[in-house]
Amino acid sequence: MEENLLLDAIERYRNGEMSDEEKISFEELRKINSNIDKIVVDHNFFLDELERMSDLKSLKHNLDNVESKLINEGFIPHNGGKAKSKVIFLWNKYRRTIAVAAAIAGVVSLSTASLISKYSENKKVGVITPLVDNKLNQFEHKLNQIEHKLNDATLASAKPKFEANFRATGFLVDGNGYIITNAHVVQNAKNLIVENKKGDQFYASPVYSNITTDLAILKITDSLFKKVNELPYTFTKSSAELAEPIFTLGYPREEVVYGEGYLSAKSGYYGDTTSYQISISVNPGNSGGPVIDKDGEIIGIISSKETNADGVVFAIKSKNIYNALREIKKDNDINIKLPTRNSLKDLSRVKQIKKLEDFIYKVKGN
C-alpha cells in the first residue's frame, strides 16, 4: 500500500468514515504487518498533537476574549503599562521555546500566534540592544541648557529639578500633543519629559504602551505646549521596498542628529514581520526615532539594534501605529488623528530636515 493511501485510511478510520467491512480489513492489516502498525501509531500520535494544537488555539482565543471582557467591565483590574517583571516572566516562560526554535534552523516566517510574537519580543531582551541612552551625559546637557538660556533668555525651559536618567527619541503623531516612541523607553519611567530642539520641555504621560509591538504613545500634559496645526509628514500603511533610501533624526546626543541609510530586509529580528531591518548608524538614544523615506513618508520607528553586528538596526513598521491608534480608540476612547498631508515631497533633504526637526522630541525620564 502506498503511504498516501495508508495515511488517508488512517484518517478515515479515525474519523469514523469507514464501512464496517473496511474497518475489519484495516484492523487485520495492522495486526499482520508490524510496519504498517507502527505508521498508524505514529500518525495517530501526530494527528493527536495537531488536534491538541488546534484545541489550545481556540481555547486561548476564548480565554483572551473572556479576559478582555472582564477587564472592560472592571472586574479584572487593569493597569496600562506593563511592569518590568512581566518581561522577565515572559522571557522565562518562553525560554524553552527559544531554545527549541533556535534548534530548528532558519525559522523564517512568524506565525500570527501571540506566543510567537511574544517570544520574538523577548529575544530582543537577550540579544538586541534597545537604543535608549541610560548614561546621560550630564555635562553636555548642562552646556546645552546654558546655550539655550543664552539664546532665549525669556523662555522658562528647564523643568525645575528634573534629573533624567535615560534619554530616547519620539515624535509627534498628532499636533494635539501626542508623541510616539518605544514601549521599552517608557516602561519603567516614573516621570517623563519631552524636549524639542529649542530646549522647551514639557511633561508627558503615556496613554498607551505595548511591550509586544514595542510602541508607546505619550500625551503632552503640559499647559505650556502649543498645538501644532499641521505636521509635514505622513505615515505609510504600505510596505517599503528593499534598498529604499531612508533617513532618521534622533537624539543619541543632546543635540539632534541626522543619519541616513537604506532598507536592508523586509523583516526584523528572527523573521519578525512586524519590523524592518535597516542599515543605518544609530546609537543609544535613537530609540523611538522616525524612519523616513525620500518623500518624507514615515515608514517605521527605530527600536533596537543587533548587539553583535554593526549597522543591523530594527524598525517597527508604521502599519503598527494604525493598529495602536485603533486600540487606543477602543480602550481609552481617545481619537488620535495622523497627519494626512505631506508637505515634504520634492524638497531638498536640507529643507525637509528644517521642516521636520521641530517635531522630533527628546524623551527623557526617571
Binding site: N79, I104, S111
Partner: protein, 188 residues
C-alpha cells in the same frame, strides 16, 4: 451536592471550550488568585498569565475522560496557580522561602509536569508549522484546524479539483511530519 454538579457542568463546558463556562470560572475564582499572587510579590499582570495557564492545565484535565474533581474547583485552581507561581519565582531566583498557603491545597505536581511536557510538544508543532512555509502551512491549517472539506480547500487555494488539493495536502503533511519528528526525537 449542588456545587459538585455546578462544577462538573463548568468543567464539561470548559472541555467543550464554551465561553460562558470559562467566564463563570473566571468570575468565581480569578480575584482570589490575583490576591494570592499580588500578596506574594507578583503583579496583577502576572496573575492574568498564571490564571490563563492554570485554565489550560484544567482544560487538559477536563478533556480526559478519566478526570473527576476530587476537591472543590476553587481549591484545585488555587493549588495549580500556587504551584505555577512558585515555579515562576524559582526560575527568577526570587524565592527566599516557601510560600505558606493561606488556603487548602491539593497535590498537583503530576498535572503540572504533564502540562509542561505537553506544552513543549505543542511548541514543537508550532515551530514545525512555521518552518513548513506557505502554502503548506495554510493548507494544513485549513484541513486539520479549521476542518474544512477538500472541495472547499480546492476552491480556496485555487486547485482545479479536490483530488489535486488532496495530493498537495499529502505532500505537505509528509513534510510537516518529517520536521516534527526530527525535532521530537532530538529533544526526547
Amino acid at each position: 451536592m449542588k456545587t459538585y454538579d455546578h462544577e462538573e457542568a463548568l468543567l464539561k463546558g470548559l472541555a467543550a471550550n464554551d465561553s460562558n463556562s470559562i467566564e463563570t470560572i473566571y468570575r468565581e475564582n480569578y480575584l482570589a488568585i490575583q490576591a494570592f499572587i499580588v500578596k506574594n510579590s507578583g503583579h496583577p499582570d502576572d496573575a492574568r498569565d498564571i490564571f490563563q495557564e492554570a485554565m489550560i492545565v484544567l482544560f487538559e484535565k477536563a478533556k480526559s475522560s478519566s478526570f473527576t474533581l476530587s476537591c472543590q474547583l476553587q481549591t484545585y485552581l488555587y493549588s495549580i496557580c500556587r504551584r505555577l507561581w512558585l515555579k515562576k519565582l524559582q526560575r527568577q531566583n526570587r524565592l527566599g522561602r516557601e510560600i505558606e498557603p493561606d488556603h487548602q491545597v491539593v497535590a498537583v505536581e503530576d498535572e503540572i509536569s504533564l502540562h509542561e511536557k505537553m506544552n513543549s510538544d505543542i511548541v514543537l508543532m508550532e515551530n514545525a508549522m512555521m518552518k513548513l512555509g506557505e502554502p503548506c502551512k495554510s493548507l494544513l491549517e485549513a484541513f486539520y484546524i479549521e476542518k474544512r472539506s477538500m472541495p472547499e480547500i480546492a476552491a480556496l487555494f485555487g486547485y482545479t479539483n479536490a483530488d489535486n488539493a488532496k495530493t498537495q495536502k499529502y505532500k505537505c503533511l509528509v513534510r510537516l511530519k518529517k520536521i516534527f519528528f526530527t525535532h521530537y526525537k532530538n529533544t526526547d
